[in-house]
């Protein structure tokens, strides 16, 4: 068992070195109403891995991932310096198509948000606007992505019912399958399990481990144990800065920074 984990770690670090990171955040500073929210963020996200961002409330985790798909653009008073590269191209380039950037970098929010439509229509909500789909294709996508989000068995008999009739945990998985239907390269998840019960949380964790075969995952969480369970890499943030980052093993067993160590032990950080 231990050997298996070790060899997996080795494999992934080899891959990291060979392949350029999918996302590369360099020298990112974010200001909201002139307040410096993120300070000199440097971060590389390797392909087909789960990168967990942990840190206390208000440390800027959401602001960071919301900068990556540029959903923060609409926030009043938002300014940024530095750059983010997605597959070697800057996401802030002048004529970039932000909508198609977001098709490649999907996002799942903290609170599930289903649209007032049926379960099947919710899965198709994004994709049907970017592609013409036949009836058969639609049915295929619905089945495939609900299966990928481990929801199919629970809803296959009631696809025409309203999405809002599902439990909160099921709604969150519905939101995930809606994002998967876009077939993005990267999925950003902002504390997707924080409003869920432990059973639903575990279901989503397990799903993440399956999904990383196909997708690159950036997962924000408050929950240190959760990060330990699913992460390949861990990024620890505090007060708008990255204090330390590394493989899960590095962070949890040989963290160099006293702040990281105190946060991992006490879930508290006096930064």
């Amino acid at each position: 068992m231990i050997q298996e984990v070790n060899s997996e770690l080795k494999d992934s670090s080899v891959v990291t070195k060979l392949e350029a990171p999918v996302l590369n955040v360099s020298g990112l500073d974010v200001f909201i109403n002139k307040t410096n929210i993120l300070k000199d963020i440097n971060l590389q996200v390797p392909r087909n891995q789960i990168t967990c961002i942990i840190g206390p409330s208000g440390s800027g985790k959401s602001t960071l991932i919301r900068s990556i798909n540029r959903i923060n653009d609409d926030v009043l008073g938002y300014e940024k310096q530095g750059d983010i590269h997605f597959q070697n191209a800057s996401i802030f380039k002048k004529n970039i198509d932000v909508a198609s950037l977001r098709k490649n970098i999907g996002m799942v929010f903290q609170k599930p948000c289903v649209f007032p439509k049926s379960i099947a229509e919710n899965v198709l909500f994004g994709i049907q606007h970017s592609k013409k789909l036949s009836k058969i294709e639609k049915a295929e996508i619905v089945e495939k992505q609900l299966k990928a989000a481990a929801l199919w068995d629970e809803v296959s008999q009631r696809l025409d019912q309203r999405g809002s009739s599902l439990s909160i945990g099921q709604q969150q998985r519905l939101c995930i399958s809606r994002t998967l239907a876009m077939e993005p390269q990267v999925i950003l998840l902002d504390e997707p399990t924080s409003s869920l019960d432990p059973v639903s949380s575990r279901a989503i964790e397990k799903m993440m481990l399956d999904l990383k075969e196909q997708y690159t995952i950036v997962f924000v969480t408050h929950n240190i144990q959760q990060a330990k369970r699913i992460a390949d890499r861990v990024v620890f943030m505090c007060e708008g800065e990255i204090i330390e980052q590394g493989t899960t093993n590095e962070i949890f067993t040989k963290s160099k920074h006293p702040k990281t160590r105190s946060y991992l032990v006490d879930e508290y950080c006096d930064c």
Binding site: D74, R102, C113, F115, G126, I127, H129
Partner: protein, 280 residues
């Protein structure tokens, strides 16, 4: 303890009295109109044209004239209000221009209706030389009820939680797609509510249309945009001016009853629409 109880009961009785007073006025008004009006109302009254300056005959052209103007008012104001509401909610992000837009909408709402009438008379009838025209009347009524529609539509667009916008944007939808698929359906609900309330107000207005859109007698259903019509409120005005003639007075009550029924119809359906959408 005792004094607190007394204060409580005084307060309770005071608010109850206000309520009774309010309900009493309504019952008295409706009661009088129905009591006096129903004597005038008959199938002939509703389906025959006016004779003898309103003292005889029916009010069919007043009913169709009012409905025609109101329908046109609705068609003109609805899209403009929806567009304004969406622009205000989704595109005006800077607080100063938001304030300016709100001030504009509220001051438009505060303008007395007679001013709209005078404006229509000077700008359309005199300067543009349209003459007395029901279509100009509809334009003026549309301006007048625009703020009601805009505010109602704006409130419902703006009350869509931002997580819906963000979720849709995060799925790679363009801003316009988000507006048309997520926000417009919501905004339309609000605009319909506002429309019914605005129309309930517009159909009873006399001042804005009496100089520019209506004639008091001898008017048929219009065949062009630039003809006058007869309308219910202005007909009541002209009948009231012949109040010494009991036949004219009775028809004034009858016309009032028809008008009030239309107003109640529009405003209660506005209320129903609002309740239905609140439930969702």
């Amino acid at each position: 303890m005792n004094s607190r109880k007394t204060i409580n009961s005084i307060f309770k009785n005071a608010v109850r009295l206000s309520f009774i007073f309010c309900a009493g006025i309504l019952v008295f008004l409706f009661g009088t109109i129905i009591w006096k009006g129903s004597a005038a109302i008959s199938l002939d009254f509703l389906t025959k044209p006016t004779e003898n300056f309103g003292a005889a005959g029916g009010i069919v052209h007043q009913i169709t004239g009012s409905l025609l103007m109101i329908l046109t008012t609705a068609i003109i104001s609805f899209p403009i209000a929806l567009g304004t509401a969406i622009y205000r909610s989704e595109y005006l992000k800077n607080p100063r221009s938001q304030n300016m837009a709100d001030t504009l909408i509220f001051s438009l709402n505060g303008i007395p209706s007679i001013i709209f009438g005078i404006f229509g008379l000077i700008f359309f009838v005199n300067i543009l030389g349209t003459g007395v025209s029901w279509f100009v009347g509809s334009i003026i009524l549309a301006m007048m009820i625009l703020p009601t529609l805009v505010l109602s539509a704006y409130q419902s667009v703006n009350s869509v939680p931002s997580i819906y916008r963000e979720s849709a944007l995060a799925l790679g939808m363009t801003k316009w797609k988000v507006i048309s698929t997520v926000l417009l359906p919501k905004g339309i609900n609000g605009a319909i509510t506002g429309l019914l309330i605005g129309i309930a107000r517009a159909i009873g207005e006399t001042a804005p249309i009496m100089f520019i859109a209506t004639a008091f007698s001898g008017v048929q259903f219009p065949t062009t945009l630039l003809q006058p019509v007869s309308a219910l409120p202005t007909h009541i005005l002209s009948l009231a001016q012949q109040a010494t003639n009991p036949a004219a007075l009775q028809n004034a009550w009858g016309t009032s009853m028809v008008l009030v029924i239309l107003v109640v119809l529009f405003s209660t359906s506005g209320l129903l629409v609002r309740l239905r959408f609140q439930k969702k």
